[in-house]
């Protein structure tokens, strides 16, 4: 036990003496939290909207006015011809084009039926889908208002009954994207920093030769490893704390669940990450190698964590792979506890899997750390 304290003391001294590292550990992640949470959004807003109005009637202008009033479509461009509109689309000046044909109003009133042309730039398929929904909604609303006007007294009896759905958005009533992203990005930061620091740290001692010096002392493997990893565990918990404060103060993300539960889960989760870091450092000889391998795993873990893309929409085999992704569990738990107020029993499956993961990774790490080669 005393031996461990000497190692911990030494590690903290080295960490806080490294003036280049300190800002990387504490300032950069928080900057990232602030920037990424604001920037990494899938909300489709400020859609570049253009139209070609061949009709020039009250009805066509009323329809365009609907788009003008929408908060999603804010840039409105009037094109005199279809050709000009297409070339604007090619240059990226507009993303959504509405074409109102000749005699739109006349035909609508005469035949009670008409067609509109909508062209959407679908290079980003997901955004195009959302844009399509917005356009359809506006036109439908316009349509249902029209219907009332168009009905003749004789049609009264055939007035259609409509089914309307009123969605209730639970846990994030305002559909605030930041509420969704902040807990996830916080997970990222805690993971990346602790993984890189722990992975890099022991390899560094290998590089400068001090690890050999440690290996000729009678120190026990477990003492060395605990002493080495504990400081990074503390740093990880520290990052979580600062991140949560920022989430509350800057983003006003709700904290519905129990804070101690979150810390309890995180304390186990960080053990997983540290185990992976140590495991990597046992199989690499230079910090560069360790860095590359750590990056490789973080990128996969992040993209398959459900942080940016829902796991449910991944192919089956990818979904099975995500079972081995610790970040996935942390993201789930964070969102559950912070936004839904889930309790201990709700997160128990994730907690147990994380615990198992921690035991396996640290077991492997201790096993693969060899004092004698």
């Amino acid at each position: 036990m005393k031996t461990i304290i000497y190692i911990i003391q030494k590690e903290f001294k080295q960490i806080f003496r490294n003036k280049g590292m300190l800002p990387i550990i504490f300032v950069l992640p928080l900057l990232q939290l602030v920037i990424l949470s604001n920037a990494a959004t899938f909300e489709v807003k400020n859609i570049k909207f253009g139209y070609v109005d061949m009709d020039h009637t009250t009805t066509s202008r009323a329809l365009i006015e609907k788009f003008n009033a929408s908060t999603y479509f804010n840039v409105l461009t009037d094109f005199s011809s279809e050709r000009l509109a297409s070339s604007a689309m090619l240059k990226g000046e507009v993303d959504v084009l509405l074409e109102i044909p000749n005699y739109f109003e006349r035909d609508l009133y005469k035949e009670k039926y008409n067609r509109l042309g909508v062209t959407i730039n679908a290079i980003d398929g997901a955004a195009a889908g959302v844009e399509n929904v917005y356009v359809t909604q506006i036109i439908q609303r316009f349509n249902s208002n029209l219907k009332v006007d168009l009905l003749k007294p004789s049609d009264k009896q055939v007035q259609p009954t409509r089914i309307e759905t009123i969605p209730l958005f639970w846990y994030n009533q305002t559909l605030n994207y930041k509420t969704f992203m902040v807990p996830g990005i916080l997970v990222l930061l805690v993971t990346m920093i602790t993984l890189f620091l722990s992975g890099m740290n022991i390899v560094r001692e290998k590089e400068i030769g001090t690890l050999e010096q440690i290996n000729v002392t009678p120190i026990k493997k477990s003492q060395f490893i605990i002493g080495k990893l504990f400081p990074f565990w503390v740093i990880g918990m520290g990052l979580l704390t600062i991140g949560l404060i920022i989430a509350k103060l800057i983003f006003n993300v709700p904290m519905l669940g129990s804070l101690p539960l979150m810390y309890f889960y995180t304390s186990i989760y960080i053990l997983v990450v540290l185990g992976i870091g140590l495991f990597i450092s046992n199989f690499t000889d230079t910090q560069q190698q360790a860095m590359f391998i750590a990056w490789f795993f973080t990128v996969i873990f992040i993209l398959m964590s459900g942080l940016f893309t829902p796991i449910e929409s991944m192919p089956k085999w990818a979904q099975i792979l995500t079972e081995f992704n610790p970040i996935k569990y942390f993201v789930e738990v964070m969102r559950m506890v912070m936004l839904k107020g889930s309790g201990f029993m709700d997160i128990l499956p994730q907690l147990l899997k994380t615990l198992l993961y921690a035991i396996i990774m640290n077991g492997l790490a201790v096993w693969s750390y060899k004092k004698t080669t």
């Binding site: 005393k2 031996t3 304290i5 000497y6 190692i7 003391q9 030494k10 001294k13 080295q14 003496r17 490294n18 400068i208 030769g209 001090t210 050999e212 010096q213 440690i214 290996n215 000729v216 002392t217 009678p218 120190i219 004092k371 004698t372 080669t373």
Partner: protein, 242 residues
């Protein structure tokens, strides 16, 4: 086993794949001796030493260090030896005092003992002014002396020095050897590798390794007679050239 033999090596071999780095070496070192372990670069000195200090598993042979078997009792060996590598593995970003405290700590010395040792060491080496400086800012000669003293903190029976005086001036080397003599005088066995043949003359006995084998072993005087050479340098050249 006689109590006087602190290192007993018999047919110790280390293979890396097909390459035999250390080829069945056999020798003994007595308590309190300064044993010079010579050889050209790549002759297998460092590999042999790493087996003796328990950080490299031998392929075959027998070896006992401080009475413990290198195959089965490596951790017991580590309790009884000190080691100073070519890299002077102190932490550059810790001060002299902090390095002493850290290594004392992981050898399990008590706080009081560490304080005593570190005060004595600082006084002996005249480190008062630099005790609180980062090791990284010190000249190489100082690092070597401190590194050596740190390897003796836990009063080991044997201290292994791997090319301890590489890259420093003759005066500093001289001072370093005075430290070695002092340690040997107090009963510590010194096992030292070196490239400097004048240093070989300071040893009680030397062995010379060529291509993984020990080709000569004896007191410097005996070796000079045996190879009909004026000094150790000539002995070494005759052997190493084959």
């Amino acid at each position: 086993m006689s109590d006087n033999k602190v290192i007993q090596v018999e047919g110790l071999t280390k293979m890396f794949g097909d390459f035999t780095a250390v080829n069945a070496i056999t020798f003994e070192v007595e308590k309190g001796e300064i044993f010079g372990f010579l050889g050209a670069n790549g002759a297998g000195k460092t590999t042999a030493m790493k087996m003796l200090i328990g950080i490299s598993n031998p392929t075959s042979g027998k070896a006992k260090v401080a009475g413990f078997d290198v195959f089965t009792e490596a951790e017991n060996i580590k309790r009884n030896i000190g080691y100073m590598s070519q890299k002077f593995a102190l932490y550059d970003d810790l001060t002299v005092k902090e390095n002493i405290t850290f290594f004392g700590g992981i050898y399990g010395l008590s706080r009081k003992k560490i304080k005593e040792k570190s005060d004595a060491l600082i006084k002996e080496l005249g480190l008062d002014e630099i005790a609180n400086q980062l090791v990284g800012s010190l000249p190489l000669g100082w690092k070597q002396k401190i590194s050596f003293s740190v390897s003796l903190l836990h009063d080991p029976k044997i201290v292994f020095l791997d090319e301890p005086t590489g890259g420093v001036d003759p005066i500093t080397r001289r001072q370093f050897w005075e430290l070695i003599y002092k340690a040997a005088h107090l009963g510590t066995t010194v096992f030292v590798t070196t490239h400097y043949m004048d240093e070989a003359e300071y040893c009680d006995r030397v062995s010379i390794m060529v291509n993984g084998k020990i080709e000569a072993l004896g007191t410097p005087k005996k070796l000079k007679e045996q190879f009909n050479a004026a000094n150790m340098n000539d002995v070494f050249l005759k052997l190493a050239r084959g």
